[in-house]
Symmetry: C2
Subunit: 353 residues, 2 copies
DNA sequence: TTGTAAGCGTTATCAA
DNA sequence: TTGATAACGCTTACAA
């Protein structure tokens, strides 16, 4: 295994084969129809023997097509992000695209402060976007940490952009996000199918898009089922355990038979409040969650919940950006705003009555 | 805001200022002592006005120092990985280093199969490592998804490597990982301080490094406390809920007052088994977990557990690689095998007796 | 079918 | 203090 110290370059391979570097380049780029089989084979053999690998730096600097797409993530640490990235990478691998990940660390830098203060995300974006543009990408997927409006996301270089989980203002770009309306709808339909008609709701923050849309879905389903929508039965709060705990307490004594918690964390708080009052979830009252985070199967009884289609969002977003890259003409038809439904995971926290 | 379509290059800036590109380059690279203040200011003004940003591709291709370190992650989807990456990026940002992330998707590609079949990880590594080397990195941090031995991790180009969470064979590289011995030790000491002396253990897989080391710590603490170590009281199983459930059932009737679960997931299974038998955790029996995953605060009662020092592992690994880069001489002193302790998070699942 | 040579956008050396 | 100019490792016309 002789191997030059440092990097073996295309020049070394050419020399070893006694050919010019363009010939090597042609073989490596699949243009071997321009090269005799004999030489092509020799070059390929030498490439593996010498352990040569093209410098992506040099290649991307020069080439017209870099076959590279960028993932700009608001924060990798948010539980929803890695599964989306997984879906993106899977799709890109299938299509022979390279992925580079940029992590803006919005939570890491400013905890939850950036959610309220838009200057923070703008500042970061103004750094991160040109940084990615300098990579000669062919397309960019923006991965939000939750559904919200993103401003100032604009490529001076005309880089195609696709949104995953979040939305750009004016919907300038194809968007792939949760179908929260159907999500809320499906939950109620399911609960009704189990005989429940007096249903409480432990929602997230009242002005949050996920909350608003799920409530819409709830109302739609209740209308269909001829159930009167009672605003007193929906409690808005936080997405976290404390919200569920406080909310469930507020719902106690309201004579509901089931409660729809808009996150698994909320459900965990609801469980706590219930147990504290000697009410056993899944037996005395039915509980359904949302997200299918690990916690849902960890609770006792295991929580029936809605699984977020995160990898699917990533997968479809990647397909869209690749389509945009390869057939730029189809841009208009691709100006999709795809809503991807969550799927029900039945466990043991809902019983028939 | 006049802005050239496409990329504005250093040449454009030079032209706009009526100077040569070398002068612009010098100003941009902090060598402004070689340039008159007047011109330097003008250049800086023009740079921001034109929205110029150096191409990292071209820069890294040419420059001797790229100020870039690579993160090679086994899988971003493993819960421990993003916090480690967060720690790395925080440290790198402070020191002015750039981070590029490569995700090998070991779980994404092969689920848990790669844990048993070493050829899979080797195959991936042989792809991913040269890919990263082609980026002209100055150093690499390998981020494992759990503690295990990594073979065939070797840079032909002499790239400095540091290990986070996992270990290279022969400990060729500085390593930053959990201090599991102290972890097991601390748990027992804590339980004893609460009056417990008959303690069960729900361990992970019996041949897993984390398991082995934590058991070592347990034994050390018990010895100190003059508690006889009873092997029958430690049940090996899986790291997941099912392991905890089965294990807890096996421990029932053994008259223990506390149980140490080696993961929060195991604890969730233990909770399930306990509730099923009318035993209330935190009241009738004390339970302590490990990992401080989100689930731990979601359980009822909230689980006392050990928080994994994940960001700290990343932070220290980054400091080490930067040190290795900037003072290559100190390599030998830096051949650390750092064990970073977990920290106890007291909640409501352990009571004094 | 193969080779020559001109870039890509930088940094670095050396002369002016 | 500034500016030519030669790399860096590759792709891609175009010529041979």
């Amino acid at each position: 295994m002789e191997q030059k110290a440092g990097n073996v370059t295309i020049r070394d391979v050419a020399k070893a084969c006694g050919v010019s570097i363009s010939t090597v380049s042609n073989v490596l780029n699949g243009k071997s129809n321009k090269v005799s089989d004999e030489i092509a084979d020799k070059i390929r053999a030498e490439v593996t023997r010498m352990g040569y690998r093209p410098s992506s730096l040099a290649r991307n600097l020069r080439a017209t097509s870099t076959k590279t797409i960028g993932v700009l993530a608001e924060d990798l640490i948010e539980f929803s992000t890695p599964p989306i990235v997984e879906g993106i990478m899977k799709s890109c691998e299938e299509k022979g695209y390279n992925v580079v990940i940029e992590n803006m660390r919005l939570f890491g830098r400013w905890q939850r402060e950036w959610l309220a203060d838009e200057t923070l995300i703008n500042k970061t974006l103004k750094e991160a976007l040109p940084k990615m543009e300098a990579l000669n990408l062919e397309g960019l997927i923006y991965v939000g940490s939750h559904e919200h409006l993103v401003h100032n996301l604009f490529s001076g270089r005309g880089l195609p952009i696709v949104m995953a989980y979040a939305v750009a203002v004016d919907k300038q770009y194809p968007t792939f996000r949760l179908d929260d309306i159907t999500g809320g709808y499906d939950v109620i339909k399911y609960l009704v199918s189990k005989g429940h008609r007096k249903i409480g709701v432990l929602a997230g923050e009242y002005d949050n898009t996920h909350t608003i849309n799920r409530v819409l879905g709830i109302q739609k389903a209740m209308l269909e089922e001829k159930i009167l929508f009672d605003p007193e039965l929906v409690i808005y709060g936080s997405w976290f355990k404390n919200g569920g705990y406080a909310g469930m307490k507020a719902l106690l004594g309201k004579d509901i038979t089931a409660v729809f918690c808009m996150s698994d964390l909320i459900a965990s708080g609801a469980y706590a409040a219930l147990y504290e009052n000697g009410i056993v979830p899944g037996r005395d009252i039915s509980v359904i969650g949302y997200d299918n985070q690990e916690i849902s199967s960890g609770l006792t009884p295991e929580l029936t919940t809605m699984a977020l289609p995160l990898p699917e969002i990533g997968f479809q977003a990647a397909k869209a950006i690749i389509n945009l890259i390869e057939k730029p003409g189809s841009a208009s038809t691709d100006m999709a705003d795809a809503r991807i439904p969550s799927v029900l995971i039945e466990r043991n926290s809902v019983r028939s009555i």
